[in-house]
Subunit: 63 residues, 2 copies
């Protein structure tokens, strides 16, 4: 299932996938894959994404 909360939080800051990827130090494809939902990032990356987007783990990754 897609992570629409992540996509939405990124859009709210007007960031591209590339910009978010650069900010957290991964490739654009990794961000794309996380939003697409077909895999399982590390918690460290999730936390970096949350901090960049001013959200918490529960807000973006809790089910």
């Amino acid at each position: 299932m897609k992570n629409l909360r992540l996509k939405s939080a990124r859009a709210a800051l007007d960031m591209s996938q590339q910009q978010l990827a650069d900010a957290v130090g991964v490739s654009r494809q990794t961000i794309n894959a996380i939003e697409k939902g077909d895999y399982n990032p590390t918690i460290k990356l999730c936390i970096a994404i949350c901090k960049t987007l001013n959200k918490t783990l529960d807000e973006l990754f809790w089910e």
Copy 2:
């Protein structure tokens, strides 16, 4: 840095590392390493741990 919140939540349910490991489907060494803090589990595993211990991601893994 050690994850003492995880260790504490596990102790509160009187579970051994082995029992938690079995409950979430990983090895005991993986649980030990996460509590020891010297690595970076996947979000899927973190969520499984949280559900088993009746906690949320923010409670156990947010900084």
